[in-house]
Amino acid sequence: MTTTLYTSDHEWLAIDGDVATVGITDYAQSQLGDVVFVELPKVGRALKKAEAAAVVESVKAASDVYAPVTGEVLEVNDALTAEPALVNSDAQSKAWFFKIRIADKGELGGLMDEAAYKAHTA
């Protein structure tokens, strides 16, 4: 059973036990425009909450993707490197960026549920 939470920086986290799969929201991709390049963190990297973890670039500009929680990178989605446009076509499923082992579940308390995120972007 997974729960999906959101950050105010427009990342989503699908939480399954102590592992979070992280991506950017459909709202974020619509604001960025056509994604042409994605840079992912190295597997094994220890990320601190709010640290720049990945980069997503559209034709126009580069944006950081922040680590929504502290933890170790377990896996990255290499499909994005080969096909950055997946971020536009399927932001909240196939275009996940990385999986992270959640070091402190207490950090999840500050995140939004879907209803709160919808209100945040309204």
């Binding site: 056509d34 034709v59 126009k60």
Partner: protein, 382 residues
């Protein structure tokens, strides 16, 4: 986000309402509320312009008429030559030329287009510089010319391989025009100034139209299924692939036309030994750069990887250590090339085609190769 007051203080072009109705995503640009893209998005808009035709609103740019007090256009041309290193006298009636206003240090105050309309000169200047340009013209040319700021005109660009066939339906003379031909023509019955030129590397036209008729003209052009509206985002990626300078980024008051690799735009008549050599601001420095070379040069840069290298990235001679040798002045992703493209300044010694240099991006040195521009072959109808 902008405060409400700032949004309200942004100027609007005569096509502002049309942009909103077309779903344009509006952003502040040079004091104007302008569409950065439409719902199709930057990538599709870029490729549309390369494969069919795109319509751009460039009404934020300044349009000026220089009317000679003597009634002889060559007097206006001679007067304007005091401010630019170009041969303006040689621009034949019905022709247009690219020029730069220079300053006393040989730097570039703005770049512009100058057309000879037979009895006066027609100038198109950058939006961000237009007030300063007009003041500059008034301060220096008021004795010889009446300087008319044509505030009541809009400007649109129709660019791409189908621009000619699209415009031919509305302007019978369009197909017979060659690259850089310019003059008054009726388009869809409106009193326009048409030039065969643009900022995309594609064949195309720039059309000055009375503000009151602008929306009707734009809608008529957009009725053609070959035409899509194109925002500033694709305008930037198109001009970057075409190797064209963006004022304030690739050229500015710190760069001479020689450093900027714009020698082609300075005719022999204004260079050392020419019939009207010098006589423009900064001539001493600019002519010295022509005669002895400059120490740095604007070059095209292609990345070896997929990561775009953007404006401001520092350039290095080696993959680690050392001081920066230059800076990227424009960079991004070229949709037609399907690869990152950039331009920047490097020491002349590192400016030869094929030279490998490095750009620092997020703490890493990425390999770049000095490459010929345009990156995408231009298709001007000469």
């Amino acid at each position: 986000m902008l405060a409400r007051d700032d949004q309200d203080s942004l100027k609007r072009t005569p096509l502002h309402g049309l942009h909103l109705s077309l779903g344009g995503k509006m952003v502040p640009f040079a004091g104007y509320d302008m569409p950065v893209q439409y719902p199709a998005g930057v990538l599709k808009e870029h490729l549309q312009t390369r494969s069919s035709a795109g319509l751009f609103d460039v009404s934020h740019m300044g349009q000026l008429a220089l009317r000679p007090k003597s009634g002889r256009v060559e007097d206006a041309a001679r007067a304007l030559e005091r401010l630019v290193p170009q041969d303006i006298v040689a621009i034949a009636p019905g022709r247009q030329r690219y020029a730069q206003f220079t300053n006393e240090n040989g730097g570039i105050l703005d770049d512009l287009m100058v057309a000879n309309f037979g009895d006066h000169l027609f100038l198109v200047v950058n939006a961000a510089c237009k007030d300063a340009d007009e003041a500059h013209l008034r301060a220096n040319l008021a004795g010889d010319c009446i300087i008319d700021s044509l505030e009541d005109r809009a400007l649109v660009a129709l660019q791409g391989p189908k621009a000619e066939s699209v415009l031919a339906k509305l302007c019978a003379e369009a197909p017979s025009m060659k690259f850089m031909d310019a003059g008054p023509h009726k388009v869809a019955g409106f009193d326009c100034f048409v030039s065969r030129s643009g900022y995309t590397g594609e064949d195309g036209f720039e059309i000055s139209v009375p503000a009151a008729d602008a929306e009707r003209l734009a809608k008529t052009l957009l009725e053609n299924p070959d035409v899509m509206p194109i925002g500033l985002g694709a305008r930037d990626s198109l001009r970057l692939e075409a190797g064209l300078c963006l004022y304030g980024h690739d050229i500015d008051t710190e760069s001479t036309p020689v450093e900027a690799a714009l020698e082609w735009s300075v005719q022999k008549s204004r260079r050392s030994g020419g019939a009207r050599a010098g006589g423009f601001p900064g001539a001493e420095k600019i002519l010295a750069h022509f005669d002895n070379g400059a120490s740095r040069r604007r070059v095209g840069l292609l990345a070896q990887g997929r990561a775009p290298v953007r404006e401001g990235a520092l350039l290095f001679a080696t993959s680690a250590g050392g001081e920066p040798i230059g800076k990227v002045t424009s960079g991004g992703f070229g949709p037609s090339l399907n690869a990152p493209v950039a331009m920047g300044y490097v020491p002349t010694a590192s400016s030869a085609l094929g030279t490998q240099i490095f750009a620092e991006v997020r703490g890493q040195r990425l390999a770049l190769t000095v490459a010929a521009m345009p990156f995408v072959k231009n298709t001007y109808k000469r």
